[in-house]
């Protein structure tokens, strides 16, 4: 968490690191749940009409 934070210019205080790691773990678990599902033909770009 400390290194990842530093990569995006954040200083994560020592007392926050455990909580940030816990929340990041939960978000990555959510991301994994999506990755495990094969999404057919889904277009993520916003609809654009010039």
């Amino acid at each position: 968490v400390e290194r990842l934070g530093s990569d995006v210019g954040l200083t994560i205080a020592p007392e926050s690191r455990a909580a940030v790691a816990q929340h990041l773990t939960a978000l990555l678990a959510a991301a994994r749940l999506i990755d495990e599902f094969p999404i057919p033909d889904a277009e993520p770009a916003p609809h654009f009409e010039p």
């Binding site: 934070g5 210019g9 926050s16 929340h23 959510a30 991301a31 749940l33 999506i34 999404i39």
Partner: protein, 462 residues
């Protein structure tokens, strides 16, 4: 006599008819706030002098024969996420208190004022709208008028508490993952999250651009419709606001439910919820004679995708503040936002792709169904300061996060949803979501008005 229980439209009718002055209505609301808000903590700013001055101006316009609008003299208040000219837009934060005052009202605030409503103040919320509880560390928790030891819900907790407590008949809030519907249900009010793009978000601090919505709270369906009619419609200041003209919902209220195809949302929406919540859905379904069940696939993944998109967009929006002032964030939000900045980009794109797929699945339901029913919240209001996790059956869930279990997968794809309150005597309120296809708010108002007229749903002053 105008009191806490008087509806917004009743107030407007009496003001327009010259039976009472707007100034007296506003003075009454200010008096109720003075009496009760110390206990509820719904307001972060009360605009006493400005509200009285606006009301006097309105009285003078009426005396001069001008029409001040359909909500003439109706007091309202807005979540402090909305710009209010002359006030710094707190967004529930300490950091934003250092911002200069807003130079103009948010579009929704301006439109309610243009309809004759009088802005009374700004309302408490979760910091940066990233929560379901309004246990704000900087400004204190907002309390539930039905039981002040309990949460009002969030993030628009001040809006729900102020309306449920009868301090104002109308409130404005925002809803990204449930922030109108969750507090509306826990406090026992009506709350509308319109279709994405139906109401302008101009002048509102974002949480997640992909599904931030603006909507009203009220204790009467007709009031909710009048507020929605006042704020809905195109706005060039919001680039995602739809250009299609708004259907006036006030005119739909007396049409009844005949001909509407109503179904129950099954699967995910029937699990991990308290018995009284499922019973409330059953009561509404029974009144509407709705027996058919429809299901949405992969709802647990939709929730996950909503969480990832919200986190990534909120993390990106707050990145500069997290770099420079992390210690000034509310501890309830800071660590979650810090984590949000570290999520890989691929996760965000996959979540957006899933969203596109899931939206198409929902559209299939509405080919032969007009309105579907689901619980709003999984249980009644938890106590303020409740433990981080709660056990429901054999499953342990996040006490606050799980409040959005039934709202998150729906706002995520922009569907219009109206939460109706079930308030049994001696019990805490719960809510039932009425859900329709995009831009079909009219069907929701027909059902809500019918349920209210039949006495199935109601929102008494708490």
């Amino acid at each position: 006599v105008i009191d806490a229980a008087t509806s917004a439209l009743d107030i407007a009718a009496r003001v327009r008819g010259g039976k009472i002055r707007a100034r007296d209505v506003v003075a009454g609301a200010l008096e109720r706030i003075a009496q009760r808000d110390a206990a509820l903590n719904a307001f972060t700013s009360v605009l006493r002098e400005r509200a009285l001055s606006d009301a006097e101006t309105l009285d003078r316009r009426l005396a001069a024969g001008q029409d001040p609008g359909p909500l003439a003299g109706v007091p309202f208040a807005a979540k402090n996420l909305f710009d209010i000219a002359g006030l710094s837009t707190l967004a529930g934060s300490k950091i934003n208190a250092d911002n200069p005052p807003a130079v103009r009202d948010a579009t929704a605030v301006a439109r309610l004022r243009a309809a004759g409503a009088v802005l009374i103040g700004a309302l408490n919320m979760d910091e940066y709208a990233y929560g379901f509880s309004t246990e704000n560390t900087h400004y204190g928790p907002t309390r539930n008028p039905h039981d002040p030891s309990r949460m009002a819900g969030g993030s628009s907790g001040g809006s729900a508490s102020a309306v449920a407590g009868g301090l104002v008949p109308l409130g404005l809030g925002t809803d990204t993952n449930g922030s109108i519907r969750v507090p509306a249900a826990l406090c026992g009010t009506f709350g509308l999250k319109p279709t994405f793009g139906r109401v302008s978000r101009s002048g509102v601090v974002p949480l997640a651009w992909s599904f931030d919505h603006v909507g009203p709270f009220a204790r009467h369906v007709a009031d909710l419709a009048a507020a929605f009619d006042a704020i809905a419609g195109p706005d060039p200041l919001d680039p995602v606001c739809s250009t299609r003209p708004a259907v006036r919902c006030t005119e739909q209220l007396g049409r009844g439910v005949q001909g509407l195809r109503i179904a129950l949302l099954g699967g995910h929406f029937t699990r991990l919820a308290a018995d009284e919540v499922l019973a409330a859905v059953g009561r509404v379904a029974s009144a509407l004679n709705a027996t058919r069940e429809v299901t949405l696939p992969e709802v647990h993944r939709a929730r996950a995708a909503a969480q990832v998109i919200t986190a990534c967009e909120a993390g990106a929006y707050h990145l500069d503040r997290l770099r420079s002032r992390a210690r000034d964030f509310d501890p309830m939000t800071r660590d979650r936002l810090l984590a949000a900045t570290l999520v890989p980009a691929a996760a965000y794109v996959s979540a957006q792709r899933f969203r596109a797929w899931f939206r198409t699945r929902a559209a299939e339901i509405f080919r032969d169904t007009d309105v579907v029913l689901a619980p709003t919240v999984p249980w009644t209001a938890p106590t303020i300061g409740a433990p981080w996790t709660t056990r429901i059956g054999a499953t342990e869930v996040l006490t606050r996060g799980h409040l959005g279990a039934f709202t998150q997968p729906l706002s995520f794809i922009g569907l219009p949803v109206l939460s109706v309150p079930i308030v049994a005597p001696g019990a805490l309120p719960v809510g039932v979501q009425l859900i329709a296809a995009p831009f079909n708010e009219a069907a929701l108002f027909r059902v809500a008005a019918w349920l209210e007229a039949e006495g199935v749903v109601r929102s008494p002053v708490a």
